[in-house]
Every structure is written in structure tokens, then in C-alpha cells.
Amino acid sequence: MKFTLSWLKDHLDTDCSVPQVVKAMTMAGLEVEHVTDPATKLAPFTVAKIVEAVQHPNADRLRVCQVDTVDGRKEIVCGAPNARAGLTTIYAPIGAYVPGLGVTLVEKPVRGVVSNGMLCSAAEMETAEESDGILELPDDLAVGVPAAVALAQEAVIDFEVTPNRPDWLGVAGIARDLSAAGLGRLKTPAVKPVPGTFPCPISIKVDGDACQVFSGRVIRGVKNGPSPEWLQARLKAVGLRPINALVDVTNLISYDRARPLHVYDLAKLVGTTIEARLGRHGVNGDEHLIALDGKTYELTPEMSVISDADGERPVGLGGVMGGESTGCSEETTDVFVESAWFDPIRTAQTGRTTGITSDAQYRFARGVDTHFVVPGLELATALILELCGGEPSDIVVAGEPLPAPEPIAFDPAYVHQLAGLNIPRDGVIDILARLGFEIDKGHATLAVTPPTWRRDVEGKADLVEEVARIAGYDALPATPLPETPRQAGGVLTARQNRGRIARRALAATGYSEALTWSFTGNAVARLFGGGAEALVLANPMSAEIDTMRPSILPNLIEAAGRNARRGFPDAALFEVGPVFAGDQPQDQRLAVAAILAPHAPRGWDKRPPEDLFTVKADLLALLEEMGAPVGSLQTAQGSASSWWHPGRSARLQLGPRAVIAEFGELHPAVLKAMDVDGPVYGFEIWVEAIPEPKKKATKTKGAPSLSPLMPLSRDFAFLLDESKAAGDLVKAVAGADKALIAGARVFDVYQGQGVPEGRKSVAVEVTVQPRDKTLTEAEIEALSAQVVAAAAKAGGALRG
């Protein structure tokens, strides 16, 4: 919503400057977006008078002028045909920036004559779109008067109107709040009814769904034409294009009182009835209307349609835009003026369906004062009579305004209870009264009736806001929150803390945290087991991000691809975030995923590149940090999902139904489909699958086992079927004697000469930790036999 200070002063008796108004608005909840002040742009320009204008010696179309300026008499070369002695115009000195030309003036000869400045047109100062010659100003303007004053160029204030305050879409409504906030006295003129002199020849019918209340009258014998300068200037200042006096009056009142109106050329109306009804499905499809913007709109039964010809011909979209067929032109002599009230939701929907965002539509969609329908018509009548003459008919009205708001029981002490503000009862009453509320103060609890233009005020909390914002939020106290008992051990849940640990641990391990969209493309989602219809957005920003992601991996892989295309192929990325298996709340899981696109920089030390076992080590270390029972995890190779390399991937699980993570090398076909070079290694952990940590009564840790006896180690080599998992063998060996065996570690895997075809040799170092006495040779032998027996059960034969 835009307005100027002079317009505001029609309603508000104030000496305030624009910055003061802006500050008061901001602090009362009218958030100023920007102030366009032409005075800034026009600062270098001042009024000047041409004393003498003679032909340029070297150019036919140029004149050399002697000009009285704020800087004294100047010789200025001018190309405008209207540059003549005695003309009062605008002067720009050397050094001025001329916005319409985009240049800064420098002193230089024009065809041999030095020009000491410039005489300007409106276009050159950007006060008009085009102009013909330099400005011609009234002779009574003194030399040196700023151009902004001479041209009555005013600052324009543009502010955001929150949806609850349609009354701010009129300058009168802004003035009311500013007056309440102490900026000046409200002086909006009262509306004087204009009596009709003849019965209205038009009758009105309304269907309550289409239109709540509709009033109108005919004014005959008007003389339409361009509206006067002051009205045109006012409309132009707020960005409206003057059309003709009748239309300009409706636009003025729309911006002045938030009261949209419409004018019909009576001669173009068919029949004597105007009917507001819902749109109709016709036999040959829906009705159509060619609106004032020249476009054709299809009318539907959801729209409010104004019609003539006994309801047969649509002549307007109620509250949105009139029809071209009955619009007023300069030839109009008899006019029918409409002032009606259309439902906000219906108007908003019609705006959405048609794409029309007119000033009327904007106002009706937010809610216009139902009780200002007839006063708005009276206001328009008076102005039309003043500008165009004519003779008004009686007013005709169909329908009823909405019932006035009910009183609200309001204890002024509630202001303190809800806002913490100390405002005496009288102060509360005063603020509400200045905002137009009616107050019955007969009892301790007030009965406060909101004005008809304040449908947003529904309860006592709304009244507190009114009082608080006018009193000023600066007055709010800063009151510390009451102390509360704190949860021992921090506020995060185990799950939240695990996400945090994962983040810090992976960052410490050398992975960079990325945040990628929660969506991906549908084809990609399908590669990763997702893409179900229920997870496809109905209105995605683009097809690449139209489906909720089933896994974080595809997004990280794409990110790695983007980095590779930028010339940085060595990505190590992770993300902690949601993945979606369905559209129900419980289908959302927290995942931790990481990828490693291995890189082997040529190094003088010939180190091997990072490989899948780097990722496995990182994963296991991370799971340990996150509190997963790493010792009990099964590594189920070959059972991981289809997007992994089938021979190089595994699940980590506590059982087939308790899968905690998957890791491996990404499937080359998946990478190819995503246009990313491999290999890429990665893992994904489902945080909720990690069992909750056991709750303990105290933080005490049990005693450690610190045997004074030296551990000893024995090496074994087993032959194993190539297809058997070495991990199972190691697990079996480690479990051969749980009391004595502290660990078992593979130190060599060998296939080739000396090992039968189809088998592999796995060498295991077993660490034995004597508990209470040194082991005898016989005991060690017995233990070795146990190890060999356990290995045999896992398919491992001692290599002879």
C-alpha cells in the first residue's frame, strides 16, 4: 500500500515529517517497506528563468540562453524548441546527475559554445515518462526553488499490509492508527448524504451467496473527461494511471477509504435490473466475460457475477473487475455507481482462478467494511457531482450488511497479565476509543465492541495487542523466565545426541558435512528403493526434486558428481538427516550416510589409496561412538540393498530384523545411471535401529580387568572354502574360550601355490590373556586344541 504525506494530512492534523511518520507506522505494526523520495533524486535541480535566448552561431537547432539561476546568471546551450526568453523552467548545474539521461553534467563546449549547465525536461528528471521540450513552469515560481517543490513531487511511503488489517488499505485507516499512536488529531471528514432527486431507474437483485449487500444510484447528465490536476497527481504518486474523472473517483476512494467502487455507463446497460449472482454452467460451456483489461475470462459457479439483461449478460466479476461492455468513457453522460460487498474467500478464489489482482480484488479478498457500503456511495456521489456535475437519483440497496461485531468482555488487568505492561484502566480505555472501539465502562470488566472495520478483533487477546502496540512494544518489560528444574545429563534425547555425535565424529574422521534436499528425482529415488506415488510432490519446483528421498546416498553421490565436474573428484561427504519410507510420521527415519570417492594422489611414498576397508573402519569407529553394540554386530555380506555392488557390500545387523547399517561399494550401474564416475564407497546408518542405551542409576563405571600377567599370542593358519566368510572363522576362534582368549586377528589371507584350488588360507593371531596364574605348556596346548576345534566347526582346517 502506497500513500503520500499530503494525502495522509487530509485525514490527520500533524506536523510530522516523513521519517517521523515512518517510525510511528513501524512501531504501530505498519511495516514500511520503503520510502521513495523524489527530492533525493531531484536535489540538484532548481527553478531558473531564461532571460535571453539567441540562435547558436554554429547549429540551427540549438539556442544559447542567458539564464538566471540559483548560481547566478549562466550561459547555457539548449536544444529544446521551447527555450525562449521569459520561460520559467528547471536548471541543472555542472556536476548534477541527470537520471533520465544517466549522465553527470561536465563543462564542455557544444559546437564551440560552452554550456554552463542544462535546462531540463520532465523526462530528463524522470518525473514523466516522456516530454516535449523543457519544462514550462508558472512564472510566479522564484529562481532557486527546489524542483521537488516546484513540481510538487512528494515522498511515497510503501508499506506491508498484514492480512488482518484491510482497513489499512485506505489512507483514512492509516491515519486512524497514527492518530491513536499520538501523531496528530484525526480529521477524516464525515460523509454527508447526498439526497437523490429522482427514483433510481435501475433495480438490484442479489443472491446472498454471490453478494452480501449491493447499493447503487444513477447520476445523470455528468460531463466526464480528464480529472483535475490534483486528483491525477495523487493517483500518479501511488502508481495509478489516471483514466477519466469517473474512474479516477472510484480509484481515489478505493485508496482513501479502502472502499472499492465501480461505475457503469448507463447507456450501455441492457434492461433495468442489475443482478449479482453466481456464475452459470451454460449449455455451451461456462459463461464468459471480456473484462476491462480486454481479456476474456471463463466464469464458474464459484464466482460472483454481476449481470444485466435480466441476469442473462455478465457485465462484471463482482469485487474483481468490471466488464468492457459497460465501462465508462469520456462520452458517458449517465453513470450507475456501484458500492457493494463481496465475500473475502470467494473474491480471493476468483482472483486465484482468473489471475486478476486488481486493487478491488485485493481489498475485497482481505475484507472490506460492510457498513461503509452506502457511505462510500455517498462519498463518490459528492465527488462526481463536484468534478462532473450531474443529478443523482435515490439510492437503491439490496441485501444487508453483516451483523455488527459483538461486544467482548474485557478486564483491563488482562493487559498486564498477557503483555506484562502496566497501563491504567483509563489508558486502556483511551487507546481503544481512539481506535474506534465502543466501550461500555459501567462495570469493572469492560464491554468492548470492535468497530465494523475490525473483524480481526475476536477476543480479549486481540484487545491486548491493540493496547500494547499503540502503547508501544518499547514499553514491554524484559522479565527473566522463572527457573525450572533442569534435566540431569542434558536436554537431548539419546537419538538427538547420536545425531550430534555422528556429526562431530565424522567431521573429526575427515568427512565434510553436507546438507542436501530432502527430495530427489523420482527416477533416482527408484534406484534407491523409493519413488512411491505417495511421496511424489504435487507441485515440485522441478522434476529433479519431486520425490521424498528414500536414502541420503543419492544426494551425496550427486553432490560428489557436481564436485567432480568442478574439478574436485576426491569427495568425502556425509549428512545426518531424514529419509522417507512412506508418508506416515513413523515412516520418517533419521539416517547418517557418508560417501568416499577414493583418490590416490601420486605420492613419493607410494601409499595405497583409501579403499572399502577405510570406510568399514570409519563406520565401525562411528558406530562405537554412537553407542551401538559393535561387538555383537553381524556382518551379513551379500544381503545389502540393490544399489550396492553385490559382492562388495554388507549389512551390519543385530539380526535380520534389526539392520543398523549397510556399507559397501556403490553399484556401478547405479553410478552410471546417475552419471557419476566410480568407484564410490559409502555407508548409511539408521539411527533409530541402534538400541537405546541402558539407563543406569549412577554414572559409576565397573572395575577394569588389568591382569598383571603378560598376554601371549599364538598364530594359526586355517584353510577355508573361498566362499566362506573369514569373519565367521575369526568369531568362532575368538569364542573358543571366552575366559582366556582376549582377541583374534587376521594377519594374512593367501590364495595360490600351496593352497588347494577353491580354498584360501587365513592366518589368525590369537591373543591369550592368563587370568590368575601363568599358563602351563599343557594348558596352552589344550587351548590350542579348542581353537582348532572351534575353527573346524566354522569350516576352517588347520593348515599342516
Binding site: A419, L481, T484, V491, R495, M541, N563, Q586, D605
Partner: protein, 370 residues
């Protein structure tokens, strides 16, 4: 005696000439070994008369001791020389590069989220969560957005296609639906253990999470992060709201210079509603907090609307409270000077390395927020 002198002179010369430890050992064996020259002389003592022994004993023993000492000294000298030679040969060029180690980082938005949680945890808030895919009821209706109201349009919501029941799910446009889940008292447990469940006041929670709107430019992305705060108790008023947010902002920006102001605003879910601005300087083309004469809107807040409380089964005549919504990415951009929100989600490793945080920069009261 002359023999002894000759032997000693001879051995001394040999010891001095020994080139390495092995040669020296051979000399030692030849002199002091079982059948060595000095050992042989010592053996002759037994067959001597006491008078002879009194003279010869100290002479031979003295010879033995001096030779032993000389060998020891020579051995130490040879070993030191050998070590020096070996060390000289073992020289490494330490100007060669160490193997590259990947440097990881925490994303700035998550760092900022941790910072915010640390501040609110200190004020007694706990952390609640809810699903990203929400119902229209939780995202709008329960929060007092009227049906078909323009305020809903302003949210640029992502929708899913209606399910078989005709119910149209959406991506939450804010984390406020978790307010509804936290306050709504029902007898049913939440659909998953991590999702907030209805609780009795007093309630003091923050709700971090992903939020979604159909929008993209330098300050808007289809996904972003929000932290909603909610305090419900008896006697909580706007003064508490003001203190909480002023305190938060001062602690978050880690400067005492930061100035704030509250202005009235409108939100369907709060009444009275406010926006908070921080003082800033825009003159250099970038926004700087804690200086200047300009204002920057930083958050929306207000007293929880009585209709929202009623929707959640809380009597607004008994309990009242406040709510606020903070943009996590946005606060991070302001604090750490990141100009474009879209970069946050681009995963450019150079950007992540530049703006990311060390794993060890976890906020804590001893060393600060980052």
C-alpha cells in the same frame, strides 16, 4: 718385568689400532680370554713363591685392569663412532610432504543449530521433534490459519497428491506443527518414539528441523531450517518473551553491542504478535550486526493464540505462553557472513571447507559457541 711392559705396550698399540668392535673383541679374547696372554700370566701366579707372588701379583693384576679399562674405553669410542655413522646414513628429507589427511567439517547450519540449542538448553528448554510430512490440520488449521485465508497462500506450500481418504499431506512450512503435537493432549502414544507427544504444562521446548517452501532466490530455498520455541505455563507474558529473545540474541551473536527492538506484526498463531529487529549496518553492501543505524527483521514471535491453545486442549484462561520462530540458516548467514542461502545446499567441497567448522568447535560454556 720387561716382558710385562712389552706386553702392555703391544696390547695398548693393538687396542688403539682396533678398527671396529669385532677386532677389539678379538684383542680382548687374545689377552683376557680363557687362554689369553694375560690370563696365562695370571695362571702362573699359583706356582710362584709368596715372595715372588707379592711382587708379580699386583703387576699382572694391574696390567689386566688397565687393559680391561683401555678395551672398555676403546669400545665406547668405537660404538659412538659407529652410531654417528649409522645416523648420518639414516638421514630423511623431512621437507617431503606428509601423507595427505582429509580434513572434515561440520556444516555451518548444523553448527549454528548446536549453538542455538546450547543457549536454549541453558535457559531450561528441551528439544522436541516432529515429522517433515505433515497434515494440513497440524500445519495450518490447528495454528489458527482460517480455511482458504490469504495467510495460507503466503506460505508457498509443497503438497502431495491426496491419498485414498482424500486427505492431502504437505511438507511442513514451519516447525510449528510440533507445537501442536507437544501441546495436544491425547491418550494415544506418538506414531514413533522420537516424535513429540502431548504434555502437560509447564512446557519449554525448542523445535529445530527442516522446513519447506516453494521458493528460490538468494534468501529463499525450497528447503531451509527453522527453530521454533514454545513456552507454556501460568503467568508467562510478553515480558518473558522479550527477555528470552533479547538474551538469546545477545548470547548468540556473542557481542554486547547488539541492539534489538520489537514491533507489532500479525501471525494467525500468536496474539499479540511481534517481529524482532536487530540493529545493523548495510552501508558496505553486506549486513553487519552490532553496529550501524539500520534494522533487520530477524524473527517472528508472540503470545500463543487462545485458539491454538484451545485446539490443543489447553485452557487459555489458565495457561498462557509464547512462541517464536528462528531461521537457523538465516541466523548463520548473519553471524558468519554467508551471502547466499542457496550455497548452503550446494555441497561444494570448497565452500564446506571454508565455512564449515571443526569437529571440536562444539559449543560449550568454557570455550564459547564456536
Amino acid at each position: 718385568m720387561t716382558d710385562l711392559n712389552t706386553l702392555e705396550t703391544d696390547l695398548s698399540a693393538q687396542i688403539a689400532a682396533a678398527a671396529d668392535v669385532a677386532a677389539l673383541e678379538a684383542i680382548r679374547v687374545a689377552a683376557l680370554g680363557k687362554s689369553g696372554s694375560i690370563s696365562g700370566l695370571l695362571k702362573t701366579l699359583g706356582s710362584m713363591s709368596p715372595e715372588e707372588r707379592r711382587e708379580a701379583g699386583p703387576a699382572i693384576n694391574g696390567l689386566r685392569d688397565r687393559v680391561q679399562t683401555a678395551i672398555g674405553a676403546r669400545k665406547a669410542a668405537l660404538e659412538a663412532a659407529e652410531l654417528d655413522a649409522r645416523l648420518a646414513a639414516e638421514r630423511l628429507d623431512l621437507t617431503l610432504p606428509a601423507p595427505a589427511r582429509r580434513k572434515g567439517s561440520v556444516h555451518p547450519t548444523m553448527q549454528v543449530q548446536d549453538e542455538m540449542i546450547a543457549i536454549f538448553a541453558e535457559m531450561g528448554f528441551s528439544v522436541a521433534e516432529g515429522p517433515d510430512i505433515e497434515t494440513d490440520f497440524n500445519n495450518f488449521t490447528a495454528l489458527n490459519f482460517p480455511e482458504k485465508h490469504p495467510a495460507r497462500e503466503m506460505h508457498d506450500t509443497f503438497f502431495f497428491n491426496p491419498g485414498p481418504d482424500g486427505d492431502r499431506k504437505l511438507l511442513r512450512t514451519h516447525t510449528r506443527p510440533v507445537q501442536v503435537r507437544s501441546m495436544k493432549k491425547t491418550n494415544t502414544p506418538p506414531p514413533a518414539p522420537w516424535i513429540a507427544t502431548g504434555m502437560e504444562p509447564p512446557i519449554r521446548i525448542v523445535v529445530p528441523g527442516r522446513t519447506y517452501r516453494c521458493d528460490s532466490d538468494a534468501t529463499h530455498t525450497p528447503m531451509f531450517h527453522q527453530m521454533e520455541g514454545l513456552v507454556i505455563d501460568k503467568g508467562i507474558h510478553m515480558g518473558h518473551l522479550k527477555w528470552t529473545l533479547e538474551t538469546f540474541i545477545a548470547r548468540f551473536f556473542e557481542t554486547p553491542e547488539v541492539v534489538t527492538r520489537f514491533r507489532p506484526h500479525h501471525f494467525p498463531f500468536t496474539e499479540p504478535s511481534a517481529e524482532m529487529d536487530v540493529g545493523c549496518d548495510r552501508s558496505g553492501g553486506e549486513i553487519r550486526i552490532g553496529t550501524g543505524s539500520d534494522w533487520l527483521e530477524i524473527l517472528g514471535c508472540g503470545m500463543v493464540h487462545p485458539n491454538v491453545l484451545r485446539h490443543c486442549g489447553i485452557d487459555p484462561d489458565v495457561y498462557q505462553g509464547f512462541a517464536f520462530g528462528l531461521g537457523i540458516d538465516r541466523l548463520g548467514m548473519l553471524k558468519y557472513g554467508m551471502p547466499d542461502l542457496r550455497d548452503m545446499f550446494e555441497s561444494d567441497t570448497r565452500w564446506l571447507g571454508h565455512y564449515g567448522f571443526s569437529a571440536f568447535a562444539a559449543p560449550n560454556p568454557a570455550t564459547g559457541l564456536s
